[in-house]
Symmetry: C2
Subunit: 345 residues, 2 copies
């Protein structure tokens, strides 16, 4: 008989598993008063901090697919995507709550592998797992995350602060993750030869283990140089649109300035695709897009010069009536295509 | 083609819906710097507060069932269950993040109804919706919540503080929600006549719109009278076990002292069931169970006297070797059955 009551989730063996995973993490930091095992976690914040809150609900076959990613990669990436949201606010990710609903077809090995990936990501960005829950799903598997972050009081980077004349920057390179995903789905040959193994590995790694730009976001917030920021999860075209809507401005992107890796260029050539299109519409790069006044150009060069990932100045904030335009290599301007990776299918 | 990339969730019309719902809520309170619409919500806490964090992932047909509950009730109850976790820590629920994955079979009317229930619960307990996300599910519907709470610094009620000799109390009455659920699944007759409409309505309401005991938890925390607390989601037997495990103690429950409503007694009689069993094993009452030293009996009578819900002293904390025992009306002691509602099926 189906029921609308909750199963006795606290008694599932997987809850014990979450405890085990948590116990293998570094010792509880001083801001965590109580973690897993009570009705709620208890956290103590510094009076000089604001708290950031973000959440994600991920569905098997829709947001992740065990056929193209390992369970460890799925866990890692789920945390990375949320850490990236915190990074885009200039914050440091801190406390993670995670809930998993297992389907009857989820293999037994999935759960420890998933948590291994989660643990790797927690270690990488200094995140503490403070709560977990495992329950059942009648059909496919679901993964739900909630992540806190802290940011010095009043210093959070918003989407709404971009001003006309500001420069537009991105960190790292764009389009890699999309190319990596496509590589997992088909074999790509260039002039009859497969894509070089090194390029292939790089692109797939960018898809499987994205880097949330936490240090970069924190640096921008600390130096008060950025006026707005967002992380690139949907793709540059879509995410820039969010900044423009919230800031009530337009934008011009300079196609030749888009940072595209050698590997992505090779992939585009091998498949007869436009690398620019991949950079504009490919999602899940988890790089940061931010805006800054022209007077901060030198400060930004000092802030990011010689570091990896670097930053690229890719355009300018324009008045709202300008809309979103792409300046092509020929100098011709065209509306920035409003599309995401979905249109590649 | 299935893909492991995230759909462009921010563009779904339902995201707009969440904004609309949020805009109909009371004006943003002063501790919420930014709510829906950025990469993360921004919240400012008072320096004298600790932060509580809890989460739940609810699956259609497993944790909720649209055949026995309205979408509004499902939304209300999801919030109530999380608010109850915060109440059990002595905290005030504050900031809610909610993510919904809609299945192809979810009716169009489900989403606004769901959010209406969520909004009702938010209003009732002073909760602010600070983030939302709607995406797709290939199969059944999922609902994920993350809720913060605040509690005066160092005052959170833990599961681990019960001491030998402490009294054991519960708020309200037990078993009602289970009886209400069963009433929705079958027609119950007593001596050939249906259960009185008033009783039936009361029990079903207790199942559909549970009351998180927020004021009661906060009162216990403020007066520093309780040594441990938990909310009753799985049923008294199971949840008392959690307190005993975490506090490394045993417990004796006095069957005749269990608070059982007249309606629940009538339901038990009509179905030939034991009302004691319903009180011990029925889940989802969302009442609080707490322990307090004997010297606080008078203080607790003053604190809860004449208020609704009242509290009942139902037993005593014993040494760990004692285990968990039930003292029956005859005076005979028996091990407390380790079971939940699942065994009713």
């Amino acid at each position: 008989m189906p029921t609308s009551q909750r199963p006795t989730r606290r008694r599932l063996p997987e809850f014990t598993l979450i405890r085990q995973i948590a116990s293998r993490l570094p010792r509880r930091p001083s801001d965590v008063i109580a973690g897993i095992g009570d009705d709620a976690a208890i956290v103590r914040l510094d009076a000089g901090s604001d708290l950031l809150l973000t959440t994600d609900l991920l569905a098997e076959r829709i947001h992740f697919d065990p056929r193209t990613a390992s369970w460890a990669d799925i866990g890692f990436k789920a945390v990375a995507a949320n850490a990236s949201d915190i990074a885009a606010m200039g914050g440091r990710p801190r406390h993670l709550l995670i809930a998993v609903a297992l389907s009857p077809t989820t293999p037994v090995r999935a759960v420890p592998a998933l948590y291994r990936g989660i643990r790797d990501a927690c270690r990488r960005w200094g995140i503490t797992l403070v709560g977990g829950d495992t329950s059942a799903s009648a059909s496919c598997m679901f993964l739900s995350l909630a992540l806190t972050g802290i940011v010095p009081r009043g210093r959070a980077l918003r989407r709404s602060g971009a001003r006309i004349g500001d420069d537009i920057y991105v960190t790292g390179t764009l389009g890699d993750a999309r190319a990596g995903l496509e590589l997992l789905s088909r074999s790509v040959r260039r002039n009859g030869r497969p894509l070089l193994a090194g390029s292939r590995r790089f692109l797939i790694e960018r898809h499987r283990r994205p880097a949330a730009r936490v240090a970069e976001g924190a640096r921008l917030s600390a130096r008060r140089v950025a006026t707005a920021a967002i992380d690139l999860s949907d793709g540059l075209s879509g995410d820039l649109r969010h900044v423009c809507e919230q800031s009530r401005v337009g934008a011009e992107i300079d196609a030749v300035r888009l940072p595209i890796s050698q590997a992505c260029r090779k992939y585009a050539a091998a498949t007869g695709r436009s690398a620019i299109d991949l950079a504009l519409a490919g999602g899940e790069d988890y790089e940061l897009l931010f805006t800054a006044p022209v007077r901060h150009r030198q400060a930004l060069i000092r802030l990011f010069g010689g570091r990896r990932p670097g930053i690229s100045r890719i355009g300018t904030i324009r008045p709202r009536v300008f809309g979103l335009q792409l300046r092509e290599a020929s100098g011709r301007r065209a509306p920035l295509p409003n599309r995401s990776y979905e249109h590649f299918r």
